[in-house]
C-alpha cells in the first residue's frame, strides 16, 4: 500500500519512510487482530435458542486484566513510535547540517518566486537571480531554503523529498534538503491560498554537478 509513495530522492526521506512503514506494520497487525476478534465473537456468540449470555461486568481485577494488558501494549507501542519519531524529527527540523547553498523561495498568489544569491552567496543583493517556479539545485549538496510569503499562507511541498513547510506571511522560515538524484520533480502548493491554489506549481530541477556548473556559468558568466 505504501508503495504508492513517490520515489524518495532525499537523504532524510528514507527515515520518514521507514517510520511510516513501522507504523504501518504496527497498525496493520492491530487492525487484523481486532477485526479478527470482533468477527470471531460475532460468529461464535450469535443468538441461539435457550442460551443465555454470560453475566460479566468486567469490574473485578482479573477481568479488568482483559482491558489492562492490551492497553499496556498499546502504551508501549505508542511510546516506541514517539521515540523513533523524535529522532527523525530532530534530524530534520532541529539539527540541520551546515549548508552548501542558499536559495530564497517566496510564495505569492499563485506562483513561487525563486531567488538565487549569485556569486556573493548572499540573498537580497544586486547580483541575485530571480526566476518564477524553477528551483535549480545541484545533486548531493545541502540546500538551505529561506521561505517567505508576500500575501497569504502557502505551503512549500516537495513530495519526492518528503519535505513540506508552510510559508507564513510576516515570517522567515528555513528548511533544508539534500537531493540524491538528478531530475525534474513537482513543487506544488499544499495550503489553500485562494482561487488559483489548484495549479500553483513549480518544479525542482536537480542537476548533476557538471550540469549545475553549466547552469551557473550561463546565469552568472562573470563569477569571480
Amino acid at each position: 500500500m505504501l508503495s504508492w509513495l513517490p520515489e524518495n530522492i532525499s537523504t532524510y526521506g528514507g527515515d520518514i519512510d521507514s517510520l511510516m512503514y513501522h507504523i504501518y506494520y504496527i497498525t496493520g497487525v492491530w487492525f487484523f487482530l481486532t477485526y479478527g476478534v470482533i468477527i470471531v465473537f460475532l460468529l461464535r456468540y450469535r443468538r441461539q435458542e435457550g442460551q443465555k449470555a454470560a453475566y460479566v461486568r468486567g469490574d473485578s481485577l482479573t477481568q479488568a486484566g482483559w482491558l489492562l494488558v492490551p492497553l499496556l501494549i498499546v502504551l508501549a507501542l505508542d511510546l516506541w513510535i514517539d521515540f523513533q519519531g523524535s529522532e527523525v524529527w530532530a534530524k530534520i527540523k532541529i539539527d540541520a547540517p551546515s549548508s552548501d547553498l542558499l536559495v530564497g523561495v517566496t510564495g505569492k498568489q499563485f506562483n513561487w518566486e525563486i531567488a538565487y544569491p549569485g556569486p556573493d552567496g548572499k540573498l537580497g543583493t544586486a547580483d541575485d537571480l530571480e526566476m518564477e517556479n524553477e528551483l535549480h539545485v545541484p545533486v548531493n549538496k545541502v540546500v538551505h531554503v529561506v521561505l517567505r510569503s508576500k500575501d497569504v499562507i502557502h505551503s512549500f511541498f516537495l513530495p519526492n523529498l518528503r519535505l513540506k513547510q508552510d510559508v507564513m506571511p510576516g515570517r522567515t522560515i528555513e528548511a533544508w534538503f539534500e537531493a540524491t538524484k538528478p531530475g525534474r520533480y513537482p513543487l506544488p502548493c499544499a495550503e489553500l491560498c485562494g482561487f488559483g491554489h489548484s495549479g500553483m506549481e513549480g518544479s525542482l530541477i536537480v542537476h548533476s554537478l557538471d550540469e549545475y556548473e553549466k547552469w551557473v556559468q550561463k546565469n552568472w558568466p562573470h563569477k569571480p
Binding site: 505504501l2 450469535r46 449470555a53 460479566v56 505508542d78 518528503r162 513540506k164 491554489h197
Partner: protein, 579 residues
C-alpha cells in the same frame, strides 16, 4: 436523590396547547430534539450535495455535473464549477458537516431527547433556554444560507478559515459572505453553549431518586463530557472570531502581518477549539454504540467505570494536542515532540473504550437488527480512523501527509463513522421511542450493507491518493503531471460517492414510510433496561406518568438469578422476577 430542582420543574403542569405551541414554540425537550433533527437532516442534504459537486469536479474537472445545470451563474456555468466556487464548496461542505450536521445531530438531537428521559426527569433544567437554543441555531442556519447569496460570493477560505486569506477581502474577492460566515458560526456556538449548560445542570440536579452518577447510562456521561469540553474550548475561538471580524470590518491587524499581526495566532486559537471539537462529536457517537451493544448482546457493558474514567481522561487530553495540526506551520520545532506524545497518548483511553466494547461481545447472545449493524459498523469504521490517526499524529510522518488526501480519508473515517454510522445507529434504535413505530428492518439492512460497502470504497482509496501525494483542496488534479496517474482512483471514488449518496435515499424512504405505516412499537421493543423504555412510545408531554425510582445500573442483562435476560433500572424487587 439529588433532585433539588425537582419540585419546581418536575411538578409544573403543562396545559394542552395548540399546533404552534406544541410543534414550533415548544419548550418540550423531545420536540426540540425533533426540531434539531429536521434541521440537521436538511443540512445533511445540502452538505451531501456539495460533496457530490466536489467529487464530480475532482473526477471530471471542468465538465458539467449531471443534475446541476439549474444552479445559476455566477455559482456555476451550465453545471461547471469555476475554481472560486470550488473553494466555496469545500468551505461550505466542511462547515455544514461539522457545525450544522454533526453537532446538531449527535449532541442536540440525542442529548436533548435522551438526557431527561434517561435520568428520569420531566424536562431539561431550563426549558425556555432550550427553546432559545434551537431558535438561535435556526437563526445561524438562516445567516449561513443568506451568506451564499450575497454579492461577492460566499466564504471560500476553507472551514478552518486561516488568515490572512480569510482576513482581507482582497485575497479572495469575498467580503460579506465571509463576515456572515463568521456570524453564523458564532450564533451556532451560542446555541450550543445554551444546550451544554442545560445538559450539565439537568444531569447534575434532576436525576430521579436512586439515579446516582454511577448508575447513569454511559451516553449521558459522554454527552455531558462533550458539553463540558465544548464549553471550555469555545471561549478562545469566539475571541478569535471577534478579532477576525474586526480585522475584516474595521481593519485591525490581529492576523495581518503588515500591521504586526500573526496568522499563527488564529491557528492556535482555532485548533485549541478545533481538536476538542472532534471529541465533542466523537463522544456522543461512542455513547450511542455503548448503549446499543449491551442491548443486542444481552450483556452488561464490560468495564463501566473504566470507560467513564477514560472518557474524562480523553476529554482532558484533548486540550493539549492542538498543535498537531501545526507541525509544518512554522511553530518552534521543539514543540512538535510534546504534542506528538500527547497526541499518540490520546489513543490509550480510546483504545480502552474499544477493547471494552469488544469484551462486551464476548460470551454474549448477539442478534443483528439494524441498530446493532450500524453500531458495529461505527466501531469497525472508527477503528480504521483511529489507527490511521497514528500516522498523522507522528510529527515526521505528518510532514508528508499533512494537507494531503490521507488526512481527508482519515478524518472521514473518524467523523463520518461518528456522524453517519453513529447517527443512523441511534436513529434506528430510538426511532420507536421517538415516533412510536418501528422502522422497516429489510430496508434498514439494505441501507446498512450499501452504506458500509460504499463508504469504504469511497474513502479507503483516498488513503492511496494521499500516499501518492495528492494535496487536498485542489480543484483539478489533472493540472499536475505527477497526479495524473492517480486519476483513475479519483474517478472510482466519485462513482462510489455518488452511489453512497443515492443509497441514503433508502433511509429517507424508510423514515417517512415508517413514520406513518410502521408497526406500532410499544414502550420497550428492544427489551432494554434504561429509563426511557419504561414510559410509553412516544413519551407523554412530561415523560413519565410517575417519576421512576432507580434501583440499579443501566446494563443489568442476563443476571444469572433471573429468568428474563433483562432487568430494567426501575424494576423494584429482584424476588418478583426470580424463577
Amino acid at each position: 436523590m439529588s433532585n433539588i430542582l425537582g419540585d419546581v420543574t418536575q411538578g409544573t403542569y403543562h396545559e394542552e396547547k395548540g399546533f404552534w405551541r406544541t410543534y414550533v414554540f415548544s419548550t418540550d425537550h423531545k420536540v426540540i430534539a425533533k426540531q434539531y433533527l429536521a434541521l440537521s437532516l436538511f443540512w445533511a442534504v445540502l452538505g451531501g450535495f456539495a460533496a457530490y459537486l466536489i467529487r464530480w469536479q475532482l473526477a471530471y474537472p471542468e465538465t458539467a455535473a449531471p443534475g446541476a445545470s439549474w444552479i445559476p451563474e455566477p455559482f456555476m456555468y451550465e453545471g461547471v464549477v469555476p475554481p472560486e466556487f470550488y473553494n466555496v464548496l469545500i468551505t461550505m461542505h466542511g462547515t455544514i458537516m461539522v457545525f450544522f450536521v454533526a453537532m446538531p445531530l449527535l449532541l442536540a438531537v440525542f442529548g436533548n431527547y435522551l438526557i431527561p428521559l434517561m435520568i428520569g426527569a420531566r424536562d431539561m433544567a431550563f426549558p425556555r433556554l432550550n427553546m432559545l437554543s434551537v431558535w438561535v441555531f435556526t437563526l445561524a442556519s438562516l445567516v449561513l444560507l443568506i451568506s451564499l447569496f450575497v454579492p461577492g460570493g460566499a466564504a471560500s477560505a476553507g472551514w478552518t478559515g486561516y488568515p490572512p486569506l480569510s482576513a482581507k477581502a482582497i485575497y479572495t474577492g469575498v467580503n460579506w459572505g465571509m463576515n456572515l460566515w463568521i456570524v453564523a458560526i458564532a450564533l451556532e456556538f451560542a446555541a450550543f453553549l445554551m444546550g451544554g449548560i442545560n445538559f450539565l445542570t439537568t444531569t447534575l440536579n434532576m436525576r430521579a431518586p436512586g439515579m446516582t452518577l454511577f448508575r447513569l447510562p454511559l451516553i449521558v456521561w459522554m454527552q455531558i463530557t462533550a458539553g463540558v469540553v465544548f464549553m471550555l474550548s469555545v471561549g478562545p475561538l469566539i475571541a478569535g472570531a471577534v478579532m477576525l471580524l474586526l480585522d475584516r470590518v474595521i481593519g485591525t491587524t490581529f492576523y495581518v502581518p503588515e500591521g504586526g499581526g500573526q496568522p499563527l495566532l488564529w491557528q492556535h486559537l482555532f485548533w485549541f477549539f478545533g481538536h476538542p471539537e472532534v471529541y465533542v462529536i466523537l463522544l456522543p457517537a461512542l455513547g450511542i454504540i455503548l448503549e446499543i451493544l449491551p442491548v443486542f448482546s444481552r450483556k452488561p457493558i464490560f468495564g463501566y467505570r473504566p470507560i467513564i474514567y477514560s472518557t474524562i481522561v480523553a476529554g482532558i487530553l484533548s486540550f493539549i494536542v492542538w498543535a498537531h495540526h501545526q507541525y509544518v506551520s512554522g511553530i518552534d520545532p521543539r514543540l512538535a515532540m510534546p504534542f506528538s506524545i500527547t497526541t499518540i497518548l490520546i489513543s490509550v483511553p480510546f483504545a480502552l473504550i474499544v477493547f471494552a466494547l469488544i469484551a462486551t461481545l464476548w460470551k454474549g447472545s448477539i442478534s443483528f437488527p439494524t441498530p446493532m449493524l450500524f453500531a458495529l459498523g461505527t466501531l469497525g469504521v472508527f477503528l480504521i480512523g483511529g489507527l490511521t490517526g497514528i500516522f498523522v499524529g507522528s510529527a515526521p510522518v505528518d510532514i508528508y501527509f499533512h494537507d494531503t488526501y490521507f488526512v481527508v480519508a482519515h478524518f472521514h473515517y473518524t467523523l463520518f463513522s461518528a456522524v453517519f454510522f453513529g447517527g443512523f445507529a441511534g436513529l434506528y434504535f430510538w426511532f420507536p421511542k421517538m415516533f412510536g413505530r418501528m422502522m422497516n428492518e429489510t430496508l434498514g439492512k439494505i441501507h446498512f450493507v450499501l452504506t458500509f460497502i460504499l463508504f469504504n470504497t469511497t474513502f479507503f482509496p483516498m488513503f492511496f491518493l494521499g500516499i501518492g501525494g495528492m494535496m487536498r483542496r485542489i480543484a483539478n488534479p489533472m493540472q499536475y503531471e505527477f497526479l495524473q496517474p492517480l486519476q483513475p482512483i479519483n474517478v472510482f471514488i466519485t462513482g462510489s460517492a455518488i452511489l453512497l449518496l443515492i443509497s441514503q435515499g433508502i433511509f429517507a424512504i424508510n423514515f417517512f414510510w415508517s413514520l406513518f405505516r410502521g408497526r406500532i412499537a410499544g414502550p420497550n421493543p428492544w427489551q432494554a433496561n434504561t429509563l426511557e423504555w419504561s414510559t410509553s412510545s412516544p413519551p407523554p408531554h412530561e415523560n413519565f406518568h410517575k417519576i421512576p425510582t432507580v434501583y440499579r445500573g443501566p446494563y443489568e442483562y442476563s443476571l444469572p438469578e433471573t429468568a428474563e435476560d433483562w432487568l430494567p433500572q426501575n424494576q423494584p424487587e429482584l424476588e418478583e422476577v426470580k424463577k
